[in-house]
């Protein structure tokens, strides 16, 4: 199982430069690792106003349950939201907060 080296902050910078991909082979491994976090720990993106506003939320464990929103994390740019998700999951997986 691939494990992220938290010292590879260059990969964070690479993601910031091109959050939509395609990514280099090393960054692709990182992205896949972050996208395979346990479902109940995932922070996801929610579009709150079409094409205009996004926020982040935590997925509930069961169908029918409400999402848990992070109201202080509101974005007017979709890729800014993806960069935040990338950082939150990076910290969750590596235990190291990105700069």
């Amino acid at each position: 199982m691939y494990e992220i080296d938290p010292s590879r902050t260059d990969l964070i910078e690479e993601f910031d430069q091109n959050p939509g991909g395609p990514h280099s082979p090393e960054l692709a491994l990182v992205v896949n690792r972050l996208r395979l976090m346990p479902m109940e720990e995932r922070i996801i993106i929610v579009c709150t106003k079409r094409h205009v506003e996004w926020t982040l939320a935590k997925m509930p464990k069961v169908r029918g349950a409400k999402l848990e929103y992070y109201d202080d994390l509101v974005f007017d740019d979709y890729y800014a939201a993806t960069k935040k998700v990338f950082r939150i999951r990076w910290q969750a997986v590596t235990g190291v907060a990105p700069a």
Binding site: P22, R35, V46, R50, M59
Partner: protein
């Protein structure tokens, strides 16, 4: 976040038909309704291609809002009968295969009135054990439980017997699971200190408990997940041995004259009726489409086809999230006027700052056409995907889609309202695959301004382009094709598909194939088309059935022994596995799927053949086709198809162009490979490609295919002035010219 939702009584209508519109609001006490014609539904502001046209309609106006009730969960209902309410001593039993015994109280067989505590209720109790309840008619109850949880996904014969003379109630569960597992058999007897009141006015309900919903609407609650087989009601108290003998007996009423009812779920498979094979004919019906044609407790494995051994397919699999018809009250109706042109329309609903589109398709009157070209809306596929939740509920969803889970308001609504049911891509709450998807409920992705842009919204790229280029068209749908076959298509010189015509019933397949053989033309402007065989039902219209047999991109496993569909007995799965691959119908078939990068087409030598000259008029010899577009930047992407003579691509097919530029994440589909290997992706595997093909038919017809879902997303590029648009227009202009195509020499 959603404040208004709704649905219509039909997806396809013609002048003179009446469309009923059902609406529910969440908060707002008023809403506004208007009719719009949908021209292009993609409202991405960077593209500036969204177009809807408001049209006067008699229903337009404001209406009071209300919250309409939806209750998911399947069950059987049998009308109340004096034969039930007059019981003294009695036995009730069924074979039970619980899939979530841990979820809490679930009804098995109940003729119970909660208001008066009358009748009986055989249940799974909060501990997962079989239990039986009796009432005295004035609020007093007695319940006896075995006290031992039923084993998950194992068969048990569950019985309960009330002996009036002994004033005793016995309940038992007899485990018949694998011989290597611990038995969960148990029984218990309790005293009954009153004479049970059997006068319940409620229907007898199986797989749930009777319930009365607001406004007096009859229904059910405490839904059971799992299978029931051979439910029986006997007018005597049987001891455990006699009860077991009865449970194994296929015709119990032949030797026990006290049998009141012996329901046989193997009869009328494919219908909504539940048959009592006993002497009293206490027939009933299923509600909310539980799964029939499923393996019974006695399935031997000798037969895989329920039609060959119906006695071994006498079970029904119930789910607490099954939904067929939401059964909302109508808010208003719309009679389709004679002068409303064929097209895609929607009732636009607005409440506060929210809106919802109830989308429907207006076709010409049966037997007529108002254009030479028909756009064939993929309503079977729209149904298959309806209310899909796989993307945010599947652990591998993000790495499959190559994205970070991003939920639109309509998807958040579905997540928070499980009662609106699932798609054929999802799994039920008990882990079994969803086989049925209905349009008789709100469907969040079924309209313009929806995301991800897929199905009807993606198909409006084609409609917007047709309008822009001045190409006249009618709209017809899969359901029309299923019902009318080739007679529907023969009204037209040519048919253009949507981006993703994935699901086909046999009548649809036969109708299209016959049309092409007789001289019809088809422009398949999509990908991953003609893949899965599905079924529709005359008994239960507005729904498709799908069994994802064998392989393919299945999203879930199909249950072994249950590959034959309930609605018509046909073998489900890929058309390819049925010996009728899409390559034999349209020249190409699916080879790869990937969503992060789309490719582009390079002309091949065959594109310079005189037969294909009309297709490439205005296209340069070395011109790259479709290196732009809404779907990941190219015209060849998301799901792509290629030619394969081994799978039936006609020998005279011209492979006009082939795509390049696919990423490592665009991978070969499971049905194309015998094993996984280290070169699955488009960056290495030469089989990851879309082929653009053309061939003629002996009847003067022709077929043009692009084999890519992304193709229509490139049509609007540069104000619809681009080479994807030009190639498509060249094809359609020629296809609506009635001059026959000639087969090539030799």
């Amino acid at each position: 976040m959603k404040k208004i939702i709704g649905y219509g009584s039909a997806w396809t209508v013609m002048p003179g038909d009446t469309l009923n519109v059902m609406v529910s609001t969440y908060g707002p006490d008023r809403f506004r309704a208007n009719l719009v014609r949908v021209i292009c539904g993609n409202d991405d502001p960077d593209l500036d291609i969204y177009r809807e046209e408001e049209i006067a309609a008699p229903f337009a106006g404001e209406y009071p809002g209300r919250d309409q009730l939806t209750v998911a969960g399947s069950y059987v209902t049998i009308p109340s009968s004096p034969l039930m309410t007059g019981l003294g001593s009695f036995t009730v039993q069924a074979w039970v295969f619980p899939t979530t015994p841990e979820k809490g109280a679930q009804g098995l067989i109940a003729n119970w009135d909660d208001a008066t505590a009358s009748g009986f209720a055989l249940t799974i109790d909060d501990s997962g054990a079989a239990a039986m309840r009796l009432g005295d008619g004035s609020g007093g109850t007695v319940e006896v439980t075995t006290g031992k949880s039923l084993a998950k996904r194992r068969w048990h014969l569950v019985s309960a017997a009330y002996d009036a003379a002994a004033a005793a109630l016995t309940v038992s569960q007899d485990f018949i699971g694998p011989q290597f597992e611990a038995s969960t058999s148990a029984s218990a007897t309790g005293a009954v200190g009153f004479t049970p009141a059997m006068g319940s006015a409620q229907p007898l309900i199986m797989a749930a408990m009777p319930a009365t919903h607001p406004a007096g609407r009859p229904g059910a609650s405490h839904f059971f997940n799992g299978k029931l087989d051979r439910p029986r009601l006997v007018g005597s108290a049987l001891n455990l041995a006699d009860s077991a003998a009865l449970g194994w007996d296929a015709l119990p009423h032949e030797r026990d004259t006290s049998v009141v009812a012996a329901w046989d779920f193997s009869r009328d498979i494919g219908g909504a009726t539940v048959i009592d094979a006993g002497p009293n004919g206490l027939h009933g019906r299923v509600v909310n489409l539980p799964s029939r044609a499923v393996k019974g407790f006695n399935w031997s494995g000798t037969e895989q086809n329920w039609r060959h051994a119906p006695q071994e397919y006498g079970a029904i699999h119930f789910h607490d999230d099954d939904l067929y018809d939401a059964e909302w009250d109508t808010d208003f109706s719309y009679e389709i006027p004679a002068d409303l042109r064929s097209g895609v329309y929607a009732v636009r609903l607005r409440a506060d700052d929210d809106e919802w589109y109830v989308t429907f398709f207006v076709r010409p009157p049966r037997g007529t056409a108002t254009a030479k070209l028909a756009f064939l809306a993929s309503t079977a596929t729209y149904m298959a995907y309806s209310n899909i939740q796989w993307t945010w509920q599947e652990h591998f969803g993000e790495v499959a889609e190559c994205y970070w889970t991003t939920m639109e308001p309509g998807e958040v609504f579905l997540q928070e309202h499980a009662e609106y049911g699932l798609s054929t891509y999802d799994t039920h709450s008990d882990g079994s695959g969803v086989r049925y998807a209905s349009r008789l409920r709100p469907v969040s992705q079924m309209g313009p301004k929806t995301a991800p842009v897929w199905n009807i919204n993606a198909d409006t790229h084609i409609l917007g382009w047709l309008e822009e280029r001045g190409i006249e068209y009618d709209v017809i749908t899969d359901e029309d094709l299923h019902n009318e076959g080739v007679a529907l298509l023969e009204q037209y010189s040519a048919v253009v598909t949507g981006a993703h015509p994935e699901y086909y019933t046999t009548p649809m397949w036969d109708g299209l194939r016959t049309y092409l053989a007789r001289g019809g033309r088809m422009a398949y402007l999509g990908g991953n088309g003609f893949i899965w065989r599905c079924a529709m039902s005359d008994a239960m219209p507005g729904v498709i059935e799908l069994r994802r047999a064998e392989d393919g991109i299945r999203y879930r496993d199909e249950e072994p022994g249950e590959y034959y569909m309930e609605f018509n007995g046909e073998y489900g799965g890929l058309w390819r596995r049925l010996g009728m691959a899409p390559q034999a119908l349209c020249g190409v078939g699916t080879v790869a799927v990937g969503f992060d990068v789309s490719g582009y087409y390079i002309r091949k030598e065959a594109s310079f053949d005189a037969r294909a000259g009309f297709i490439f008029e205005g296209i340069g010899d070395d011109e790259v086709i479709g290196n732009f577009g809404f779907f990941a930047g190219g015209a060849s992407g998301t799901e792509i198809d290629a030619a394969d003579p081994m799978l039936g691509t006609p020998p005279h097919t011209l492979i006009l162009a082939t795509s390049e530029g696919h990423s490592a994440n665009t991978m070969i589909v499971p049905d194309e490979i015998g094993l996984n290997h280290s070169a699955m992706g488009g960056d290495q595997n030469p089989d990851v490609r879309a082929d653009m093909t053309f061939f003629e038919t002996p009847g003067g017809g022709a077929v043009f295919s692009v084999g890519s879902i992304a193709w229509p997303g490139s049509l609007p590029h540069n104000g619809y002035d681009n080479n994807v648009s030009r190639v498509s227009e060249n094809v359609l202009r020629r296809f609506v010219d009635d001059a026959p195509f000639a087969m090539p020499d030799g």
